[in-house]
Structures are given as structure tokens and as C-alpha cells.
């Protein structure tokens, strides 16, 4: 605000004071919405995690926390460094990562393909949708005993469980999005005399893409969950195996390293999908500003 306009406002306020209704000079910029939560602070989200870490470190240093229950953060960090030096950590991370990727590589295309057939054709819907809905009501993890009988306890079973757990959210979200195209756009395409192929290509598929990417985000979470479970069943390598082995020797520090690795895997997968969303949906970015 310029000094000139400020004095003009102040003058107004004085003027109005005589008529007993003072006008408050408006601040140069409103601080934020009156009923809002206040302005966000950069990196404010880190406050909780940092406090938790500080509490953990302080508790360990002062001996409040028993190291057998929860080793100090620096012990966990050093354990991780040792495991890397021995080559165990990267070997197990690679195994787990490959397993997850193989499961995703089967589950995502299968989910997309079945959702397309079932979302774009009546016959496809009648053939597949009921089956998938029934399948959806059985938790994937409950299928593990059956899958072990069919595929044994090797990699085939593990990848099948992950693929199945990925298939469901991809199918559900993408199918819903394909069927949920705004009827106004259908009407528009009809008045523009657009062919069926062009309608699918230019209206349905781009319109359903946000739904597919949402399904992909859910799929990353369920893939990680399935990965954790299958790795603790008779695996001989992988993060889950490392954790399970450490548990039987009472090595809490290694268990914690494994958990941190899972957290990093989950966070990276989510970040990758969010990046993909930003790249694939440039028209939605304009809304966020």
C-alpha cells in the first residue's frame, strides 16, 4: 500500500468517526481466510516426525528406552551401514523390489485389459464384472493357502499373490471411471457426430485416466502389503526374510532397518505415481494453480 492511499484511508476513517461509524483501514494483504486454519508454513508437515525422532534419540541417550525393545536411532543407522557393507541389505532390497515389480508387471496390464473389456462392452461386463466383484470380496491374503497348494511356496506363488492384489484396485477404479464418464460429454460427442472409435479415444479414455491413476496409487499400497506377507512365508531372501530372520535372533535393530526400507519403498512408489499423475494430467494441474 502506498503512503498516499494509506493517508487517504486514514482520512476516511477520521471523517467517518464524526458519524460514529469508524471504518477500519484495510491491511495491505489479508492474512488468510477468517475461518480457515491460517497460512501454511513451509516444511510444517515435518514437525511431527522430527519431534518423534528427537524424543526417540533423547530417550535412548538418557537410557529411558531399553535398547532391547527399541535400539537408538544411530544404532539403527550403523546397522544399516553394516548390512550395506556386507552386501546383505542391497541384495535383499533388490530381491524384494524385483518381486514387487514382477507382480505389478502382471497385475497392472491384466487389470487395465479386463477393465477395458468390461467397461467398454456389455458382453465384457456380463462376463467379467460379476467374477471380479466376487473375487474382490475375498481378501487376497486369504487365498494364500490355496495358491501355495497350486504353485508351491516359490516365486510363482509370491508373484501371483502380489499380481492379484494389484489387479483388484486397478480394475475397480478404472472400470468405474470408464463407466462414470459424464453423460453430457456423451451427448456432445453425439451432436458432433463423432465415430465410436474417436469417442473412446478422445472422450472415454482420457476422461477415465484420472481413475486409472488413482487405482495405480491404491495398487502400490496393496502390492507392498502383499509383498510383506509373502516374504515372511518361507522366503530365503528379501526384506521380509531379513526381518523374519532377525526376529528369531532377537535383533531388533535389523528389524527396524527392514521397516525403514519398507517405508522408503512405499513412499517412493507413491511419489512415482504422483509424478506420473502430474505428467499425464497436465489439464488438472491448472486447477491447483
Amino acid at each position: 500500500m502506498t503512503p498516499h492511499s494509506f493517508s487517504a484511508l486514514a482520512g476516511e476513517a477520521r471523517l467517518d468517526a464524526r458519524t460514529a461509524t469508524p471504518i477500519h483501514p484495510s491491511p495491505a494483504r489479508r492474512a488468510g481466510r477468517r475461518l480457515g486454519l491460517g497460512a501454511p508454513i513451509a516444511y510444517g508437515w515435518a514437525l511431527g516426525p522430527v519431534l518423534l525422532l528427537a524424543f526417540w534419540a533423547l530417550g535412548s541417550a538418557l537410557g529411558w528406552i531399553d535398547a532391547r525393545i527399541l535400539p537408538a536411532p544411530w544404532v539403527v543407522a550403523m546397522t544399516a551401514a553394516d548390512l550395506v557393507a556386507q552386501g546383505r541389505l542391497q541384495h535383499n532390497v533388490a530381491t524384494s523390489g524385483l518381486r514387487a515389480l514382477e507382480g505389478l508387471a502382471f497385475g497392472i496390464p491384466a487389470g487395465i485389459a479386463v477393465a477395458l473389456v468390461s467397461g467398454l462392452t456389455r458382453l465384457g461386463e456380463y462376463l467379467f464384472d460379476g467374477v471380479v466383484q466376487i473375487k474382490k470380496s475375498i481378501p487376497v491374503l486369504a487365498l494364500i493357502p490355496l495358491l501355495m497348494l497350486w504353485f508351491g511356496i516359490g516365486e510363482g506363488m509370491k508373484i501371483t499373490v502380489i499380481a492379484l492384489s494389484v489387479f483388484i484396485p486397478i480394475y475397480i477404479q478404472f472400470h468405474d471411471a470408464l463407466r462414470g464418464i459424464d453423460s453430457r460429454y456423451v451427448e456432445l460427442a453425439e451432436t458432433l457426430r463423432v465415430s465410436r472409435i474417436d469417442f473412446v479415444r478422445h472422450v472415454i479414455l482420457p476422461g477415465a485416466l484420472p481413475g486409472l491413476l488413482l487405482g495405480l496409487r491404491y495398487a502400490m499400497t496393496t502390492a507392498l502389503l502383499a509383498l510383506v506377507v509373502v516374504e515372511e512365508i518361507n522366503a530365503t531372501s528379501g526384506i521380509g526374510y531379513m526381518i523374519d530372520l532377525a526376529r528369531s535372533y532377537g535383533q531388533t535393530n535389523i528389524v527396524l532397518v527392514g521397516l525403514v526400507v519398507y517405508a522408503i519403498l512405499g513412499f517412493s512408489a507413491d511419489a512415482a505415481v504422483r509424478l506420473l499423475q502430474r505428467l499425464a494430467l497436465p489439464w488438472q494441474r491448472t486447477l491447483a494453480g
Partner: protein, 256 residues
Amino acid sequence: MATHARRLTGSPAVEIRRLVRSFDARIILDRIDLTIRRGEFVALLGRSGSGKTTLLRALADLDYGAAGSGELIVPERLSVIFQDARLLPWKRVLDNVVFGLSGPDPLDRGRQALAEVELAGREAAWPNELSGGEQQRVALARCLVREPELLLADEPFGALDALTRIRMHELLRRLCARHHPAVLLVTHDVDEAIQLADRVLVLDKGRVAADLAIDLPGHAADDGRRFAELRNELLGLLGVAVPAGQEPLPEFLQGG
């Protein structure tokens, strides 16, 4: 108005004979007869539920699910402009304009159409980045680029603010004078109907209750008087009683 009334060739663009439409045994259109000549601008007024949107949708071939009978002749090249701009949010402005467009150089024709609605330079914008009035202008460009013989407009300015609406009226009038399609404009704004149309129809309970030619004499003083007469007549037909002399003239007719 009078300017493109002279362009009429007399041959019909739209022929409707004894058109009946009903939903669930409720008759919405009751034996409508209507002819719209080439280049003629017809406004369709009516209270809500009078059947005006049903008539427009019948012409646009969007009334699947309705039972009915009657004859309907509409031109091959037909465009619809809806109350919402109905742009595909995932397509840039120019791609929206040329979506489904056939013929040579669609992109060039799309750019020309955008220039005609004064949106040259916004070809690469996303629809979400435009204001409501700009979006509706893109929708208008999408219609124009198809060189329609019949333009069906379903309350196209209903969602716009008053100032934007005035500018859109000007634009539509100019574009119609240049391309002279036959136009059927559904509206519930009596002033809009009188300002834009050659002819105003009033629909009531599925029947054409009135069919008035808009015959403004063409000079300001007389126009104002005639405008007021037409408006009172139409408001009366729509069931709104206006005490004589109490209704101010619309701004564009005041002060010559």
C-alpha cells in the same frame, strides 16, 4: 434482426409436422407444427415444463427414450450449443474446437473460428484456464467451424453474468449476420428473444401458443415503443402481468 431477414431465401431449413413427444404417458409436445426458413433466427420462449427443451432435443436427435410421432425434417449440418460450454477439460482449446471435424485443414479452420469469437492466441489454453464467457465463445467457435445450416441453442447465455451476456448477444448477432444459419434459440429471457430473433414463439403446455414476428421499425424512438409493446405482449403470454408504463426500457434503447 432486420438485416438478416432480407437474406432469407424462403426455402425451409426445418419442417416440423404434428410432432408429439411424451415421457411416461405425460405429453410434453402436443402436435407441434413449425417451419424455420433458411437463415431465420427463431427464439423459443416458454415457462419451465412447457416443452421447449424437449423440442430442441427432438431436433438435435438427442431425445432417445421419448415416445412420439410426427414428421421432422432437419438439415444435415446441425450444431448444438448447450447452456454449459461442454468443453472436454483434457483437450486444449483448439483441439476442442476441431474435435470430430472432418474436411481439409481442420486446424486452420479451427484457428479462424477462434479468431472470429475473439479468442485468437488462446488456442493452446486449457478450458479450465478460461472464464465462463470465454468457454462459451469456444463452444460457439466449435459450432461455427462446422458451418451449420441450423444452430440449436439451449439457453446458451443462461449461466453468464449480465455484462458478458450483452457482449455475447453482440457477438452472436454479428456471427449470424455473417454465416446466416437458421437458429432456434431456447431462452426464458424475453428481452434476449426480442433483441436477437426475427420471430419469437411461445410454447405453452406443448403447443405453440403464439408466433410473433419481431418488427422493430428501425429507428430508435419508435423501436423503444414497439419493443415495450412486444415485451408486454410476450410477458402476458408467459403469464406475467406487467402494469402499463411501469417497466423501464432496456438500457440499449434508452437515450437513442
